[in-house]
């Protein structure tokens, strides 16, 4: 696959990803891609140019959201590693929602309506 923009300064700046990782992310593109090629070759090259820039931007955005002590100056942000940690983080958050709802349900059994209203007012004021 040839990237027409690969040797511009911006393209070289984006090269911190391993080419192998980039190619795997392109393999994951929707299976209807051949139709895009038929519709217009210009559109598909524009689509790949937008995808590469957006992917690097979104990857850095995701990186800032994940809670972990990353080594400062670790330029080799492997996209696959990021995806794996994102999946683990989402799974962890789902587990936390489950756990908190179990605990809330246990607490509800011991709650009466008066303290429920106080709890609502207090929480609204706090958040």
């Amino acid at each position: 696959m040839s990237y027409p923009h690969a040797f511009t300064p911006r393209g070289l700046a984006l090269r911190r990803f391993k080419p192998k990782v980039l190619s795997t992310s392109y393999i994951a593109l929707p299976p209807s891609l051949p139709h895009h090629f038929e519709a217009g070759r210009k559109m598909s090259s524009r689509r790949s140019r937008i995808s590469e820039e957006e992917i690097s931007e979104l990857v850095s955005k995701l990186q800032s959201l994940l809670p972990e002590a990353r080594r400062r100056g670790s330029g080799r942000a492997s996209a696959a590693k990021l995806l794996k940690e994102t999946c683990n983080y989402i799974r962890k958050l789902n587990r936390e929602v489950d756990d908190l709802s179990n605990r809330l349900s246990a607490l509800m059994a011991t709650m009466d309506s008066d303290s429920a209203e106080a709890d609502i007012i207090r929480s609204l004021l706090r958040s």
Binding site: I50, S51, I55, L58, L83, L100, S127
Partner: protein, 149 residues
């Protein structure tokens, strides 16, 4: 550079957007909790916890609105009254190579509405979904703390 300022602007703006939806999330979730507490004093603890979990995801989706693909898919799932099921088991990969190629698929299974997205949209929706999920978890922890104090 314009792109740099736009990325920093993107990083600031979602936080500002989230503040308005945080209040909406809190009021929706608390109202739902109150309703659950009133109508299920004699039902099982497991059934109640299922309803609380459903209310948590519902308030997430309501506060996100219909401008996000994940919230639309989540609202659809909730309205069809299907059992709210989320994949939690860790998939066991045979080889590291297979793991790399399947990560996008795994992520697609985790994010609502995932299978019908391409890679860029998937990353965008994942970031938004994570933001709302963390807000919801923090909200539930706040409610827990204020009830048990």
């Amino acid at each position: 550079m314009e792109s740099k300022s736009s990325t920093t602007g993107n990083r600031d703006n979602p936080n500002r957007n989230l503040h308005g939806s945080k209040t909406m999330m809190a009021s929706h979730f608390l109202r739902a909790l109150f309703r659950i507490q009133q109508t299920s004093t004699s039902s099982s603890s497991a059934g109640r916890s299922r309803r609380i979990r459903r209310a948590a995801y519902a308030s997430m989706a309501y506060s996100a609105g219909t401008r996000r693909a994940w919230s639309r898919a989540l609202l659809r799932k909730l309205r069809s009254r299907a059992r709210l099921r989320f994949p939690r088991r860790l998939s066991r990969a045979a080889t590291p190579q297979r793991r790399d190629m399947d990560q996008a698929q795994v992520l697609r299974k985790l994010v609502p509405g995932g299978p019908s997205m391409d890679d860029c949209k998937l990353l965008e929706e994942t970031a938004d979904y994570i933001r709302f999920l963390t807000t919801q978890v923090r909200l539930m922890q706040t409610v827990m703390d204020s009830v048990s104090s």
